[in-house]
């Protein structure tokens, strides 16, 4: 039982607010849902749309099927989305939404109220009672929502597509909120950034959290400043993160290399959007994997995570900070516009304890780059004891002074690179979903996880068993990570939201694992479950 509704209109017409308010209310009403948005790089005009999938079971992807309900705020909607309305589906025409706006203005003195009225209509459609809806409404908007029930009654829409609430009390997050929350839970206390879609909302949420927590956000003059501020803060003692999109990350390359050389722990979130250059700034793609993998000149180790669910995002974002500290390396979190802008409820419990750095104390003989048996130098921070902390971007000796000694160079390179062997041992395993005996396995990474999983479920239900192996850690890749899944004997399909099949190349170069077929998409949108099911079916036939 589910209801797929699309709310579409020009930027600034209120579709965004309807989505926000609807998901907010749905989460208070204990509904399962998934919501996402599709918007242009402009503030007013154009054509945007917001999709909410409401269900009586957990849903974590865009169904992509035909709509049960279309809400038109502009003329374009008729042309673009009505053709995909299912037979007997509900169409709130532009005239109808205009009538709603009219009424809202008359009754409440503000057009903005019409967003809540529309929310009321949608709630009525899925069969929530007017009373419950009013209770769950945003403060001061109960009356607006009730008005929606009047419209629904008038238009005979009440309980037209009933969906029951079954989620229980759960919190909703979008992908970027999850990333920022995970960071805070991982002990991150400092973020510096420069706005850039789709990373800006990571900064926004961090700032929101900083209102009541011991965190600092600094808006930098550019991305180069941002990442260097972050490295400065990390050196000074705070766990710290930078967050940006591909173009901003391009400006951080030299500092990524600096982090590698100075062994300064840092976490960098890269929210992907279609490139090259400015590309499609508000759309989605998974095409910066190779870029992040090779970011920064010279050779030094790194870890890259690309979580696929809200829970995994919170967990891996948290974990990034511990790993960055433990191995004194840059750790990357790859996400994308689709994941960033998708709102979901999280079924699992989120542990809220906040991790923190260690602040070991040393005496005046402290050497920041001491060569140790374990292969990791002791990390501490200035001003704690008599120990002086000296970082150098040149090749350096154990103290942190410039050196040009060839032997020292080799020892330092070996030390830095040697850390990889250590953190390979605690690699995050990929997650397998579906029938372990299936002869076909779909490999994927990052935000496509739950789309692929639902598609695989449908195929399995249709009699074609398919397994899914999703990589939340995309680098490094080790043989141990894939060993349990018997991939060699299976037909392997790799699904990626890019044109180059970047992850499949990585599987080849790192694990010598070829894939039989690639499923790629690079028109700026994510896969939908329907579309992917169809494509996979075609390949498997």
């Amino acid at each position: 039982m589910e209801m797929n509704v699309i709310i579409a209109g020009e930027a600034g017409q209120g579709a965004f607010s309807v989505e926000m308010e609807l998901t907010e209310t749905l989460s208070r009403l204990n509904y399962h849902f998934f919501a996402t948005k599709n918007y242009m790089s402009r503030i007013r005009g154009g054509h945007n749309y917001h999709i909410v999938r409401i269900a009586d079971h957990p849903v974590h992807a865009l169904s992509g099927g035909i709509w049960d309900m279309v809400v038109a705020l502009d003329g374009e909607t008729e042309r673009r989305h009505r053709p995909d309305l299912r037979e007997g589906g509900i169409y709130l025409s532009r005239e109808m939404t205009a009538a709603v706006a009219e009424t809202a203005k008359e009754a409440f003195g503000t057009v903005a109220a019409s967003n809540s009225v529309l929310v009321g209509i949608i709630l009525a459609v899925i069969g929530v009672s007017a009373e419950k809806s009013a209770e769950a409404a945003e403060p001061g908007r109960a009356e607006y929502v009730r008005k929606g029930f009047e419209f629904a009654a008038k238009w005979k829409l009440t309980a037209a597509v009933p969906v029951s609430a079954a989620a229980g009390v759960h919190r909703k997050f979008d992908g970027n909120q999850a990333l920022a929350l995970g960071a805070v839970l991982g002990g991150c206390q400092f973020v510096a950034g420069y706005p850039m879609t789709p990373a800006t909302s990571i900064l926004d949420y961090f700032v929101t959290l900083a209102q009541g927590l011991p965190l600092h956000f600094e808006q930098a003059e550019d991305e180069i400043a941002a990442i260097n501020m972050v490295l400065g803060a990390s050196y000074a003692g705070l766990r710290a993160m930078a967050a940006t999109a591909g173009g901003g990350f391009a400006l951080m390359q030299e500092a990524v290399s600096l982090a590698g050389m100075t062994e300064t722990p840092v976490v960098i979130a890269v929210a992907q959007r279609p490139g090259p250059a400015t590309g499609l700034p508000t759309r989605t793609e998974q095409a910066d994997l190779a870029f992040v993998l090779n970011a920064g000149h010279g050779e030094f180790p790194r870890i890259i995570f690309a979580p696929g669910s809200i829970g995994e995002m919170i967990a891996l974002s948290r974990k990034s900070f511990a790993l960055a500290d433990r191995y004194q390396i840059p750790v990357f979190i790859l996400t994308d516009q689709y994941f960033a802008d998708s709102v979901q409820i999280v079924e699992e419990e989120i542990p809220l304890q906040v991790d923190s750095r260690q602040y070991p104390e040393f005496d005046g003989t402290y050497l920041r780059y001491r060569l140790t048996d374990e292969g990791i130098s002791p990390l501490t921070f200035p001003g704690l004891t008599a120990a002086l902390v000296k970082l150098d971007s040149d090749e350096h000796d154990e103290e942190g002074k410039i050196t040009e000694d060839r032997r020292m160079r080799v020892r330092m390179v070996d030390k830095r690179r040697g850390k990889r062997a250590l953190f390979e041992k605690e690699a995050v395993m990929p997650t397998f979903h579906g029938d372990p005996g299936a002869g076909m396995v779909v490999l994927c990474w990052g935000s496509t996880k739950l789309i692929v999983q639902e598609a695989a479920e449908r195929l399995t239900a249709q009699g074609t068993p398919v397994g899914v192996l999703h990589f939340g850690q995309v680098y490094p890749l080790t043989r141990e990570m894939i060993a349990p899944f018997g991939l060699e004997g299976k037909k392997r399909i790799c699904v990626e939201n890019n044109a180059g099949g970047q992850f499949s190349r990585l599987l080849k170069s790192e694990l010598d694992l070829g894939v039989d077929r690639l499923v790629l998409k690079y028109d700026g949108e994510s896969f939908t479950v329907d579309e992917l099911t169809r494509t996979l079916k075609g390949l498997l036939a």
């Binding site: 607010s17 308010e21 907010e24 989460s27 945003e138 919190r171 909703k172 997050f173 909120q177 929350l181 805070v184 839970l185 002990g187 206390q189 400092f190 510096a192 929101t208 959290l209 209102q211 009541g212 927590l213 011991p214 965190l215 600092h216 600094e218 930098a220 003059e221 550019d222 180069i224 400043a225 260097n228 501020m229 490295l231 400065g232 803060a233 050196y235 000074a236 003692g237 705070l238 710290a240 500092a255 100075t262 809220l352 304890q353 906040v354 602040y359 200035p382 001003g383 704690l384 004891t385 120990a387 002086l388 902390v389 000296k390 970082l391 150098d392 971007s393 040149d394 002074k401 410039i402």
Partner: protein, 274 residues
Amino acid sequence: MEAKSDIAWCPGCGNFAIRDVLEKLLPELPVPANRIVFTSGIGQAAKMPHYLKVNYFNGLHGRSLPLAVGIKLARPDLTVIAYSGDGCMYGEGGNHFIHTIRRQLDITILVSDNQVYALTKGQSSPTTDPGAINSLSPGGNRNLPFNPVALAIAMGAPFVARGFAGDKEHLTELIRQAILFRGTALVDILQPCVSFNKVNTYQWYRQRVVKLAKPATDRSAALQTAERWGEQIPIGVIYQDDAAECRAGAEIFRRGATAEEVACQIDMKCVMMR
């Protein structure tokens, strides 16, 4: 301390004099060495912290200031000094120079201004005189000179000074004041480069520097002083505004949040509309 021979500067370089000043001054400050942090970029000047008994983060060419900003914001208890050359601070790092001033933090900016990119062998820097000839400007440097002192004053820096490596005593006082000043303080230090700048030598500067009696407190007057260059080059504190606001860093070091605080924060905010 370093044997002088381990220092990678040319004999006679103005940086030695500045190092002498710092070596003597730093222990006199009311801050222990382990609470002093230098950031620096890349260049001859940027090697300075390696030759002092301090914490340092010797980062990338042009990027000493954002490092300093990050450190100061994270640890207001540390005394933060950004040290670099004219090319590093005003060329590659020009954007940080103007925007760091806007942040009104308590950071000291010291610049060995030798009017040349020395480490890369003598190309024009932003402060190189127009017409100066070097490998990449065989026809003479064609750019208007960058006046760091005027720019800092125009951007609103509350403490702006020019020093001269050839007058250690005077320089010591300038740097002392700059470090003790609560707010962004710039000391642009005229630093003879014996290898690549054959024009702006010790002697050339000695014939021109004039010490200011006291700083202007009026920006317009200060800007006029800042514009003076040529036969007379004013050194000293050119502008000082003791009443200027100074923003403190965040007092969050080693103050982690509890799970309860987080729960409360996300309950309050997360469920509200953005």
